[in-house]
C-alpha cells in the first residue's frame, strides 16, 4: 500500500459515501452538504491524478459557486423535509434501484474490460509531465480548443440572459 493507494481509497470511499448520502438524506440541505463533501473528495482524486488546476477549479466552481446557489435556493424556498408518500410507487422505486444496480454492473464491466491502451504502459511516467498541466491546459484551451472556449462563453452569456428573463419581475413600476 503506497500512499497514493491509501489516499485513493480514502477519497474514493468518501466520495462514494457522500454520493449515497446525497440520495439518501431526507432534507435537501443535508443532501447538498453531502454533495459538497463528494466534490471535495473528487478534488482530492483530481490532485492524485496530477490535475491540480482542475482540482482547484472544481472547488471554486462547484463548492464555491454552484453549491452555494443550491443552498441559496433551498433556503429561499424554505424546503423542509419531504413527506415520503407520493405518486411514485414503491414498486417503481424498487425497479429503479434494480435498474441502477444493473447499470453499475455494466459500467464496472466496461471499466474493467476496457481495452488496455498501449499508452497505458507509459502512463506512470506520463504522470510527472502531466502534473504541471496548468500551462498545458491553457495552451490547449487557447489554441486547439479556442472555438469551443468561445462557444462556452456564449453559453454562459445565454444562461445569464435566460436567468434574468426567467426571474425578472413583470413590472418595474411597483417599487
Amino acid at each position: 500500500m503506497n500512499p497514493e493507494q491509501i489516499l485513493f481509497i480514502l477519497f474514493g470511499a468518501v466520495s462514494l459515501i457522500g454520493a449515497i448520502a446525497v440520495i439518501s438524506f431526507r432534507h435537501p440541505i443535508y443532501s447538498a452538504l453531502s454533495l459538497i463533501v463528494t466534490f471535495f473528495a473528487q478534488a482530492g482524486l483530481f490532485i492524485l491524478l496530477g490535475a491540480h488546476f482542475v482540482a482547484a477549479v472544481q472547488v471554486i466552481v462547484y463548492a464555491g459557486a454552484i453549491m452555494v446557489l443550491f443552498l441559496f435556493v433551498i433556503m429561499l424556498l424554505n424546503l423542509g423535509t419531504l413527506s415520503a408518500k407520493g405518486a411514485i410507487s414503491g414498486k417503481l422505486k424498487g425497479f429503479a434501484v434494480i435498474l441502477g444496480i444493473l447499470l453499475a454492473i455494466e459500467g464496472v464491466y466496461i471499466a474493467v474490460k476496457a481495452p488496455n491502451d498501449p499508452a497505458d504502459a507509459s502512463a506512470e511516467t506520463a504522470i510527472e509531465s502531466v502534473s504541471t498541466t496548468t500551462y498545458n491546459i491553457g495552451e490547449l484551451l487557447f489554441n486547439e480548443y479556442l472555438l469551443p472556449f468561445e462557444v462556452t462563453s456564449l453559453i454562459l452569456l445565454a444562461a445569464l440572459i435566460g436567468v434574468i428573463v426567467l426571474v425578472k419581475r413583470e413590472s418595474q413600476e411597483e417599487s
Binding site: 411514485i88 417503481l92 429503479a96 435498474l99 441502477g100 444493473l102 447499470l103 455494466e106 466496461i110 474490460k113
Partner: protein, 632 residues
Amino acid sequence: MSKELIVVLLVAPLVGFLINGLFGKWLKGNEKLSGWIGALAVLVSLVCSIIAFTSLNSGAAPLDETLYGWITGEGFAFNIGFRVDALTAVMLLVITGVGFLIHVYSIGYMHGDEGYTRYFAYLNLFVFAMLILVLGNNYLMMFVGWEGVGLCSYLLIGFWYEKQSATDAGKKAFIVNRIGDFGFLLGMFTLFAAFGTLDFTTIFDAAEAGNFQQVFGASTLVIATLLLFVGAIGKSAQIPLYVWLPDAMEGPTPVSALIHAATMVTAGVYMIARSAVLYNIAHTGEIVAWIGVLTAFFAATIALTQNDIKRILAYSTVSQLGYMFVGVGVGAYASGIFHLVTHAFFKGLMFLTAGSVMHAMANELDMRKMGGLKSKMPITHWTFLVGALAIAGFPFLSGFWSKDEILHSAWGGSPLIYGIGLITAFLTAFYMFRLIFVTFYGESRVEPEVASHLHESPSVMWVPLVLLAIPSALIGLLLGWGGHESWFHHFTKAVAGFSSEAHGEASGNVILFMVISSVVGLAGIAFAWTRYSKRVPSDEPTGALHRLLANKYYVDEVYNALIVQPVKNGSHFLLWQLVDNGIIDGIVNGVAALIRFVGGLLRRLQTGLVQVYIVSMVLGIVLFLAYYLFFT
C-alpha cells in the same frame, strides 16, 4: 428610356400600396395624407410614362428587356421582363393619366369612409397590377397582371363588404372572370406547347415564320387565339360573360370609372392587339368582330330601358367594348386601341360625373328621382354633356373620330357588321341623351330633404372632371385627324402586327362615312329629345319587348337556371351528401376513431411523471449496453 425608368414606373404604385396597406392603421387619423400618398405614387408613374412616351415618340427604339429569370427549368425559362413599345406607351398613359385623376377624385369622394386607407391601398395595387399587365414582355407576366387586376377588381367591388349585394357582386365578378381566365390559361398552355416559350418576341417571330410545333394540327393557332379570346371575353365583359360588369357597379364609383370603364376591362382588347400577329395569321378576327358587334348591340338595347345611372353607363361600357372588339377583330388594331383611349377618357369622365351626382344626391342612383339638376350642378352637367356628346359621336368630339374609324374599317370587313354597328351608334346616342334629359333637365323630382343640400361637388372632385372633359372633347381631334393617316396610326404603326391590316383597308369615301355616322348620332339625340325632354320613363315596362329589355333578356335568370342551379344541386346532393359526407367523412372519421382507440391504449404510458420517463430511458440504456457488451 431606360430599364430603371420602367422599374420606377412600376414600383411607385407598389410602394404606395405597401405604405397604405401596412401602415394604414397609423395613417387612419390622417386620411388626406393617405390619399395623397396614393395619388403621388401614381403621379410618379405618370411622369415616368410621359418620359417613356416622349422618348418613344422622338424615335427611340422600343424597349424589350429581361430583368431576371423567374422560373428556370429544363428547357424552359420564364423571365421577368418588360416590353415598352407604342402600344404599351399608349396604355401606360391611359392607365396612369386617368388613374391619377381618379385617385385625386377619390380623395374627395371617399372622404370619411371607414376603409379609406384600405381603398387607396387597393387602388394602388390595382395600378401596379395593371402596369405589370401592359409592361410584361411575355404572356406569363401578362397573366400575372391579369390575375392581379382581377383580384383588385374583386376586392374593390366588394369594398363595402358589409353590403350583401356588394359581396355577391364581387363573387360574381370573380367567378365569371375565372371562366375567362381558364380559357386564357389554356391558351397560354397551347402557346407554350407550340412554341416552348411565352415571350412575345419569340412567339411572334416563330409564328410568322411558321416555325412551331403543330400541337393541334393546322388549327393550332386558331385554337390558341380563340382560347385567349375566351379570356378576353371574360375580362372585357363580352357575350356571354358580360353579366358581371353591370353588377360590378356596387363598388365605389371611382372604381367603376377606373377599373370597370377605363382600364381593366380593356385588358382583353389590349391582349388581342398585343397578339395581333397571331390573330392575323390565324384569321380568327372575324369571330372576335362578330362577338364584339353583337355585344355592342345587345348591351345598347338593354341600356335603353334601364333607370339606374350607373347601370346605363355599365351597359354602355359593355357596348363600347364591343366596338373595340369590332375594331381589333376586323384588323384595325390601331382604331380599336384608339377607341380604347378615347373611351377611357369620356367613360371615365361620365362615371365620375355620375359619382358626383350620387355624392350630391346622397347615393341615389335612380334617375327617375332626379331631374333638373342642371341648375344645381352646372359643372357636373356640362362635363357630363361633353362626355355624352363624345360617346354619341357628335361631330369632332373624340368618340366621333374613333367610332367612325372602327365603323369605317368594319365596312371593309363585313357590311353587315357595319350595319349593326351603325344601329348601335344610334341606340347609344339615344340612351345617353335619355339619361341626360331625364337627369339634368325637366322638372326636379328630387325628394325634399335631399334637395335641401343638393350642391356642387368639392374642387378636389370637379377639377378632375374638368381635366377629363378636355381630352374627352379634344383628344380625338388631336390624335385622329386624318383617319387612317392620323398621328395615332402613325405612332402605333411599328407595333407588331398592326401594319398588316388585312381586312380593315379603308374603302369608300371617308367623308361619306363620317357624315353618315354624324347623322345617325344626331338622330339618336333628337329622338331622345322628342321622347324624354318632357317625360319621365314609366315605372312599369309596357309591351313584351320593353319587358324583355328591362329584364336584360333574362340572361341572369337563364344562367341561373342552366348553370348555377345544376351546379348547386350537383354539389349538394352528389358531392356533399354522398361523396363528402358518406365516403370521405367516413374514411376520415374511421381513421380518427382508430387512432383514438390506439391512443387511448397508449395514453396510459403518458403518466406525466418525469421519473417514469427516465426509468424507461435508463431501462433502454441498460438493455442497449447489455446487448453490446454481452451479445456482440
